[in-house]
């Protein structure tokens, strides 16, 4: 297997977007994803990409542009509009030796695939006594803005993070997007990688050579001692903005980027709460039975004695996404909501 040669980056102590790597070549989040896909296709003939319109000129927000031309239509395949069936077809290929990456332009299309993801891909290793593994990677994109509305902007990570047998990842930075995607393709577990459309232009130093980041490790993006802000995906950036604001008032916020929702890096969260005594969770999804609920529950189970104040959660209002601009503006929480939440428990 070519994958065993990859170097794993399991470091967890790095702070603030890999300062040490800033001297390296900087690329965007979309370029990092494309680079990971390119390298996976180059390294292993069993890797193929499939998805609706992945070979069109837009190339899934630029992440697959030119790959069909480079690798051919048998390795970068357009797909019928048949999300559940095609998930099963990708899985069927995965359990017979391939390493498919199934790509969706919107997370909202994944509910069509629930049978094959939950009843089949997630269960296969267990039901076969570990004899048949499912090296299937599913990428899906959260939309936002310009009236994307209720069926093109959902953050459904919690639905999948409930299911044993799956991995659920939400990279926020280009470095993580590349390493987590390569790690998923190299692994033997069905993995859902959820990207956010507003992250594609983010830039940072990313090594050119392939590397993998194993799931289950969060990252401290900013160190602080007064409050812990746990965030995922785009909300990491709102949290860092909030931390900047709070710093002006002398409040030192520690910002944790979860990166991996399943498995969840409980130790990192607990260690930070033990230091700061306060917890705010910022998720791109809803509160009810969501990622923020899970993080708060972990805090209650393992660090209740360290908490000096109630936990606060910054999530979406419990309503579908509106289309019109005025309601859309009201819908999405920002760094100011996080700042208010922190001040409310100070």
């Amino acid at each position: 297997m070519p994958w065993t040669k990859l170097q794993a980056d399991d470091s967890r102590s790095e702070v603030v977007f890999h300062q040490a790597r800033l001297s390296q070549r900087e690329i965007t989040y979309r370029e990092a994803i494309k680079e990971a896909l390119t390298q996976a296709l180059e390294m292993d003939p069993n890797v193929f990409l499939i998805g609706e319109g992945i070979d069109d000129p837009g190339g899934v927000f630029g992440t697959t542009v030119g790959l069909k031309e480079k690798f051919g239509k048998d390795r970068v395949m357009d797909s019928p509009i048949a999300e559940n069936g095609m998930t099963g077809i990708a899985m069927g290929a995965a359990i017979t030796g391939m390493r498919p990456v199934f790509i969706h332009m919107r997370v909202d299309f994944l509910p069509m695939c629930m049978d094959q993801i939950i009843n089949h891909a997630a269960k296969w290793s267990y039901m076969t006594g570990g004899r048949v593994k499912v090296p299937l990677t599913i990428r899906a994109v959260i939309g936002r803005g310009w009236g994307s509305a209720a069926q093109h902007s959902q953050s459904l990570q919690a639905l999948f993070a409930h299911i044993p047998g799956l991995r659920v990842l939400m990279p926020a930075s280009p470095y993580d997007a590349k390493g987590l995607l390569l790690g998923s393709i190299a692994g033997n577990t069905p993995t859902i990688i959820i990207e956010h459309r507003w992250l594609y232009d983010q830039k940072e130093g990313v090594p050119e050579e392939p590397y993998v980041i194993h799931p289950g490790k969060g990252l401290v993006r900013r160190e602080g001692s007064d409050v812990t802000i746990v965030a995922c995906s785009y909300m990491v950036y709102e949290s860092l903005r909030a931390a900047d604001e709070l710093a002006k008032e002398g409040i030192r916020a520690e910002v944790i980027d979860l990166r991996s929702l399943l498995p969840l890096d409980e130790d990192l969260i607990i260690g930070s709460i033990e230091k700061t005594g306060r917890l705010v969770v910022a998720d791109t999804g809803w509160k009810a039975c969501g990622i923020s609920a899970e993080v708060a529950a972990v805090a209650a189970e393992r660090a209740i004695g360290s908490l000096k104040a109630p936990v606060r959660r910054i999530c979406l209002p419990f309503a579908p996404t509106p289309a019109c601009h005025s309601l859309e503006q009201a819908y999405y929480p920002t760094h100011t909501d996080i700042v208010s939440a922190v001040k409310g428990i100070r």
Binding site: A82, G85, G88, Q116, H120, W124
Partner: protein, 325 residues
């Protein structure tokens, strides 16, 4: 019965032995089930043996089959050892899935059985996906999806046939039409159109087959498998048959009014094993002595499998989380 002149006697003997092995294993399971040592639901395929035997006769060890909650017969016909099969029913570490799957989730990768799904229609796309992998690799393998008439109502049926036809995938869609989805008759669920006819909508051949005539199954399957192997794409087979037992469990369901008694009686007259047994005797393919020793051999195999299954250790609680990832 269909004519057989182009089928070598050895193949005819093997077909009969496979049908016997399935029938006797299922019979034994239904006899032993009341002991309550098999602690999982069993969906027996008694009455449907000819389909598994006739189709799998054309498959190589490396070819793939995908099946359903009613998969014992398919796995036996594909060459699965009866011992890990029995041990799986008994929930033992020595079972084919180390007791994690039970009767509904048999697996045997070494014999081209990557798993079975108890979600109706769930395995149809998996078979198409395995065929896609074979096509991409050019490994010459074919895949078979076994499913019931109920699965032909699922979205995965349409999605998989559409894609397999589009890509000319080496896959055979084998619909075992036993006319019931649990207890719901087909006329309550589908318009009165043959399932095989739907194939034309995808531009693939669809063949209606007497699923209780193993020679008819053998002939139709040969054409479908040859087509797939030659790169000419998928075939839909509708194999008409009838299940003798209830949807689940070791007993018939006729007395409880689930199905009409006269319908059941008529199908018993068309027992696939007896029909073919008569055929091999009438045509001097097997003598009475040969049939007798074949029966004894298979019964012994089943005896040993049951002993093996009962004797194995149960997985300890400490292994609860094994194989989740």
């Amino acid at each position: 019965m269909m004519p057989y002149t182009d089928i070598p006697p050895e193949v005819l003997k093997q077909l009969y032995e496979t049908m016997l092995r399935i029938r006797l294993f299922e019979d034994r399971t239904s006899v032993l089930y009341p002991e309550q040592l098999i602690k999982c639901p069993v969906h027996l395929c008694i009455g449907q043996e000819a389909i598994a035997a006739g189709l799998c006769a054309h498959l190589n060890k490396g070819d793939y089959i995908f099946s359903t909650h009613r998969s014992h017969g398919h796995c036996i016909a594909k060459g699965m050892d009866l011992r890990p099969l029995a041990a799986e029913l008994y929930g033992k570490s020595t079972g084919c899935a180390q007791g994690r799957g039970g009767s509904m989730h048999l697996v045997d990768p070494e014999h081209g059985i990557p798993g079975t799904s108890a979600i109706v229609g769930g395995c149809i796309p998996l078979a198409a996906g395995a065929a896609l992998a074979s096509k991409l690799r050019g490994d010459g393998k074919v895949s078979v999806a076994f499913f019931g008439d109920g699965a032909s109502e699922e979205g995965t049926f349409h999605e998989s046939l559409n894609y397999a036809a589009l890509k000319k995938l080496p896959v055979i869609f084998a619909c075992e039409n036993n006319n019931y989805a649990t207890n719901s008759p087909r006329h309550a669920r589908q318009p009165d159109v043959s399932i095989a006819e739907r194939a034309s909508g995808y531009g693939m051949p669809g063949v209606f087959v007497d699923g209780n005539d193993v020679l008819a199954v053998y002939h139709a399957s040969r054409e479908a498998v040859d087509r797939a192997r030659a790169g000419e794409g998928p075939t839909l087979l509708e194999l008409r048959t009838y299940r003798w037992k209830a949807h689940v469990g070791p007993n018939p369901d006729i007395d409880s009014g689930c199905r009409p008694a006269d319908e059941y009686e008529a199908w018993l007259e068309r027992c696939p094993v007896n029909m073919f047994g008569q055929f091999v005797a009438d045509n001097n393919i097997l003598s009475d002595d040969e049939i007798g020793s074949m029966l004894a051999k298979v019964e012994k195999e089943i005896d040993e499998a049951i002993v093996f299954g009962k004797a194995g250790p149960e997985p300890p609680a400490s292994e609860l989380y094994d194989h989740v990832y």
